[in-house]
């Protein structure tokens, strides 16, 4: 599972060139990966115990004294293949495969096809590494590999200013998440002396290790939350995903499908830290996820750019998955939802991209009639929106307090509404003629571009529906799951469908309002962002960098100049001959001769 994308990556690096060749080879590698997964899945289907194998990477006996758990340190590239790892790897591979097909046509104008496909395989490698890792340090390394690949994917179009900004955002902001993850794992190791997930998980280890307690677990939990939020692009860290929308669409879609899934898998792997970290750890996760979901859902309502709305909506749904993790017994359904989102979110984004490209506008006010002109794209968008809205509907996600239930339901409806509003406004209504734009020339994208998106959307919907099935959830988490009454299922399904229904209705019946209010909201958001940017620049950025500049260019330089002048004055006699090139040899010979003389005359050597 690790070797196939790695070898594919190395093969492309070693010299496969040309658009067709690299694309074909990438697709071949991903198909082999799928076949391999099928074989592994066949072998491990009935086994609930994970398959473990480890390859030593670092093994050090660091001390012969002190606490025994700190006497040795090791990091294994340990593979822990359970059902979740299989499902997540399959989802990632399918996503990569669909996007590789899409990119054959959609990315035909992109520079550097070999670079793109090599980076995509590197991202798959990093993603698979994260989901199969049984060692937290190795997981951190794979996470970083996926991060590097993400940066390279988003920085792919280097020739434009927008790509430059995107690359900066794609490296600098997510690096915060990488450092948070590294710090979280380091905090755990510094107290427990182990990185192995299986050895860390038992309650006896987490609660009875001397020197470690709630504070340690709480700090680690907060750091894990930061890592997952930043890399997942959840509000308020969505900026790096919004700012990179001008990167190649396949890259953007892949990144937005990859990271929420990796975040959910990471959260599932480290859930014991939250379980035994006391109520504070849960509160941090729950309140942060709720705030993020609420904020993103509201921001999805502000603005008429379909791509931004889809990013905000997807971000809100991804945050709700994390919120759902906090509900008792809901980890399995949350994971099932994360799998569905990993396919549906990229599908929605690609549809949004196709619509904006075909209608040559990023304003929903200029769009309409896509259902007639771009039928498959519109249907894919509708399916993806429904899949995203339904993903969280399974009843298990909200069994605790009523406030969680109400919040979850409300956020689901708002996010679903925002997502479906894009479909309602773009697919229906009239597409009007504009300057230099002829509506009749709007056509469906090429089949090689719509069918991968269609498959992703259908896959997302199937996975969202599968989340209602208790056996599927039990298969994912490898344990028994409680079953619920059919009425509960139906109720939550209705809640999940309420958002899209309202969005569709708004697009059909209240089109002026559905365009005007978000436009007004966008102006408010832009105003608030401007004020925040001004305050940041006025009170943080300018004074901070001003202080640095004042020290570097005035205080330090004047001190150095004083020292330099003193030296120059004191050694002026030496400085002058040294400036002549011929004198260098003389000085050196003199120094060496003096050293030799001192050494030879010294009594020690003489004796």
């Amino acid at each position: 599972m690790i070797l196939i994308p790695l070898l594919g990556f190395l093969f492309i690096l070693s010299g496969i060139r040309g658009r067709r060749a690299t694309s074909n080879f990438t697709i071949f590698v991903l198909l082999v990966q799928l076949a391999d997964l099928a074989l592994v899945g066949w072998a491990r289907f009935h086994s609930s115990d994970p398959y473990r194998v480890g390859y030593q990477w670092i093994n050090l006996a660091v001390s012969f004294e002190g606490a025994t758990q700190f006497q040795a340190f090791g990091i294994d590239v340990s593979l822990r293949v359970d059902h979740l790892a299989l499902a997540a790897t399959a989802a990632l591979t399918l996503l990569a495969l669909a996007l590789a097909f899409w990119h054959r046509q959609g990315g035909r104008g992109e520079p550097g096809p070999a670079r793109f496909h090599a980076t995509q395989l590197l991202a798959v490698l990093g993603g698979v590494g994260v989901v199969v890792s049984g060692d937290l340090a190795a997981l951190t390394a794979w996470w970083g590999v996926a991060g590097v690949a993400t940066y390279l994917l988003l920085a792919h179009r280097f020739g434009t200013e927008a790509a430059g900004r995107a690359s900066r955002l794609g490296l600098a902001l997510p690096f915060l998440g990488d450092l948070a993850l590294l710090s979280a794992v380091a905090v755990l190791y510094s107290r427990f002396g182990d990185n192995d997930l299986d050895k860390l998980s038992p309650a006896t280890v987490l609660t009875q290790t001397y020197g470690a307690g709630l504070k340690t677990l709480g700090v680690a939990a907060v750091l894990f939350v930061i890592a997952i939020f930043v890399r997942g692009g959840l509000f308020p860290f969505t900026r790096w995903q919004l700012g990179t929308l001008d990167a190649p669409p396949a890259a953007v879609a892949f990144v937005q499908g990859l990271w929420p899934l990796l975040g959910a898998v990471l959260l599932f792997r480290v859930l014991p830290v939250f379980y035994f970290g006391g109520p504070q750890a849960w509160w941090v996760l729950a309140y942060a996820a709720a705030a993020s979901a609420g904020g993103a859902a509201l921001l999805a309502l502000a603005g008429n750019d379909p791509r931004r709305t889809l990013v905000w909506g997807g971000s809100a749904i991804s945050a709700l998955v994390l919120l759902a993790f906090g509900q008792p017994g809901a980890a399995g359904t949350s994971l099932a939802a994360a799998l569905a989102i990993a396919l549906a979110r990229p599908a929605a984004l690609l549809c949004g991209w196709a619509l904006t490209a075909a209608m040559r506008s990023r304003d929903l006010a200029d769009m309409g009639g896509a259902l007639r002109r771009m039928q498959m794209t519109s249907l894919s968008l509708a399916l993806a929106c429904v899949a995203l809205s339904l993903a969280l509907a399974p009843k298990g996600v909200a069994r605790s307090g009523w406030h969680s239930v109400w919040f979850l339901a409300a956020a689901m409806v708002v996010a679903g509404f925002a997502l479906a509003r894009v479909y309602g406004l773009a697919a229906h209504g009239e597409l009007r003629r504009r300057r230099a734009f002829e509506p009749t020339r709007v056509r469906e994208v090429a089949p090689v571009m719509w069918w991968p998106v269609w498959l992703l959307a259908v896959g997302g919907l199937v996975l969202a529906a599968a989340a209602f099935l208790t056996p599927w959830v039990a298969f994912l988490v490898g344990g028994k799951q409680a079953s619920y009454a059919v009425q509960t299922d139906v109720l939550w399904m209705l809640i999940g469908l309420a958002g899209p229904a309202l969005g569709l209705a708004a697009g059909l019946a209240l089109r002026p309002l559905a365009l005007a209010w978000p436009a007004r909201g966008e102006r408010w958001v832009a105003g608030a962002a401007g004020v925040a940017a001004y305050l940041y620049g006025r009170f943080v950025h300018a004074p901070g960098l001003g202080t640095v500049e004042a020290f570097e260019h005035r205080a330090l330089r004047s001190g150095e100049d004083a020292l330099g002048s003193a030296l120059a004055r004191a050694h002026g006699w030496a400085a002058r001959p040294v400036s002549g090139a011929m004198a260098v040899g003389l000085v050196l010979v003199a120094v060496v001769a003096a050293a030799l003389l001192a050494g030879l005359l010294a009594p020690g050597v003489y004796r």
Binding site: A61, V62, T68, A72, L169, Y210, G564
Partner: protein, 538 residues
């Protein structure tokens, strides 16, 4: 107890499989040869007649092969190194000034042997990067070889007086190189003086520390093996420790003693900048490990918070300062300081694991720093400008250099697949228990440095080329070789720190990190986390 430990801890066999290269070097003067061979060749070069520059290429070629030979010797020393033997190996001990207790004592433990290899690789890259040099090649290569020899001597010295001599001796040729061959004639003299000035302060502090240490320990010897085992009073350790930190700070470029690094790394020619960033600056970290952590245990514990704070402050400062500069090479200089912060944090972590990371960062940080300053220098040479306002859109014009610059940037901040990531991992894992705040501060500094790297890559590589900028041409293979050597070392250290294994069979066993660990486990045994007592909170 020992038997139980060996049973419980998975560790490599104590009798490693004979590997290729072992037993090749059988003479007793390995370290002296490594140190003095470049000096001897420098003397030969200084005296060879060179009518009308006929042998200019000979100076380059012969310097390259001498440096390559030194690297090969260091490499064979590494292969032969007994990773399971305590104490220095390849020892040479000749009384030099017995009246003062000074001996010509050389020795190499795991840290030294790895730093010797790092010095060799960096020196080789420095010479490769100087291939285009036309002005006064004889003097240039003579000084380069002398600097290399002094740096290797510093690493091998087991007598503190000799170590201090090599410490001071390394600065002179480097300062002359910067002053004589710097890029901008108007600024290179000042840059050389800065290097000399800061090094003078550092040398003075180190000499004071050495004399104080020897005097406090009884005054009979400067031998590190003896002084490292004497239990000095806490107060003396703190004073000596502060002096050592000052000396190290002048080399590592720890804030606020980093001014020379900015000027020197920005003004020096590419080869010299690579040598200074990759070998010269690392010596500060080496001194911290060799003298502070290994010999002054109580002083280290007391100074650890100060060191950790300096690590965080330096990383943060360099990241912020990088944002304010308009000069690509100055930006590269600031970034080259950042890997040193991980070394300092590791030294401040005072756990065996953090010290392992600090020692490993002497290699990983060396190649990362050398790569970033080298890449910035070559890019600015090829783009015919170093002004960030003019640079832009170079990714399409300089594809090879662009990849190297991206790798260098990622290496500086310690992204996976690079050697700096491994050292960061070890340092952070080891430091969070003792230097919790310092570790977070350094992480914050790395974050700002990461933003600076992202900003630099955006400004230099992305966007449309500036129409006002001079035309840029990608570097030929001869110029990128130097950077490729560094990039290869950086990736090798990141991918196989424990040594490569072919079909499960170790190759070049033990790995670099195991060689380092053999010595760190010896010097850091007093820093082992104590066995916990019931009732400890978390």
């Amino acid at each position: 107890m020992m038997g139980l430990f060996l049973l419980a801890v998975p560790s490599p066999s104590a009798t490693p499989i004979p590997v290729f290269g072992s037993g090749v070097i059988g003479f007793s003067f390995l370290l002296s040869t490594i140190i003095w061979a470049p000096v001897v060749w420098a003397l030969v070069l200084a005296t060879v007649p060179n009518p009308r520059g006929r042998y200019d290429r000979f100076f380059y070629g012969s310097s390259f092969w001498v440096t390559f030979g030194v690297l090969a010797l260091a490499f064979f020393g590494y292969i032969q190194f007994q990773a399971f033997t305590v104490g220095p190996q390849y020892e040479e001990k000749v009384p030099w000034l017995p009246a003062f207790g000074i001996t010509y004592h050389l020795g190499a433990d795991g840290i030294s042997i790895l730093v010797l290899i790092a010095n060799g690789i960096v020196s080789l890259a420095a010479i490769l990067a100087s291939t285009g040099l036309r002005a006064r090649p004889r003097e240039y290569y003579v000084l380069l070889l002398l600097a290399e020899a002094a740096l290797n001597g510093l690493v091998c010295a087991r007598d503190l007086f000799v170590l201090a001599l090599f410490w001071g001796a390394a600065a002179l040729p480097l300062a002359l190189l910067v002053s004589g061959w710097g890029v901008a004639p108007a600024r290179r003299w000042a840059a050389g003086l800065r290097l000399l000035g800061y090094s003078g302060v550092g040398s003075l502090a180190l000499l004071l520390a050495v004399f104080l240490l020897a005097a406090t320990a009884g005054g009979g010897t400067f031998d590190l093996d003896y002084l490292g085992k004497t239990g000095l009073p806490e107060r003396a350790q703190v004073v000596i420790g502060i002096l050592v930190v000052i000396a190290a700070a002048t080399r590592l470029g720890i804030w606020p003693l980093h001014g020379w690094a900015r000027e020197v790394l920005a003004e020096a020619p590419a080869g010299v900048a690579i040598l200074v960033a990759g070998a010269g600056m690392r010596m500060g970290g080496y001194l911290l490990l060799r003298l502070l952590d290994a010999s002054l245990h109580d002083g280290t514990r007391l100074l650890a918070p100060l060191l950790a704070a300096l690590a965080g402050a330096t990383a943060l400062w360099c990241g912020l300062a990088a944002f304010r500069t308009r000069d690509l090479r100055v930006l590269g200089a600031y970034l080259a300081i950042v890997p040193g912060c991980v070394t300092i944090l590791g030294a401040a972590g005072v756990t065996p694991l953090s010290l392992d990371g600090a020692a490993y960062s002497l290699f990983g940080g060396a190649v990362a720093s050398a790569l970033i300053v080298g890449a910035c220098a070559v890019v600015s040479e090829r783009a015919l400008t170093r002004d960030l306002a003019l640079l832009g859109g170079l990714a399409g014009r300089l594809p090879r250099l662009s990849w190297l610059l991206v790798l260098a940037g990622l290496g500086v901040i310690g992204m996976p697949l690079t050697g700096t990531f491994v050292s960061e991992l070890l340092v952070f894992f080891g430091s969070f228990k003792v230097s919790f705040v310092g570790a977070f501060a350094t992480a914050a500094g790395l974050l700002v440095a990461g933003a600076a790297v992202a900003w630099m890559l955006q400004r230099v590589l992305f966007g449309a080329p500036n129409p006002d900028a001079p035309p840029a041409v990608d570097a030929p293979l001869t110029e990128t070789w130097a950077l490729a050597v560094l990039a290869g070392a950086l990736i090798y250290l990141g991918v196989v720190p424990g040594g490569p294994k072919l079909a499960g069979i170790p190759f070049l066993d033990p790995g670099a990190i195991n060689v380092v660990n053999a010595s760190v486990a010896d010097l850091a045994s007093t820093y082992a986390p104590p066995s916990p007592t019931p009732g400890g909170g978390g």
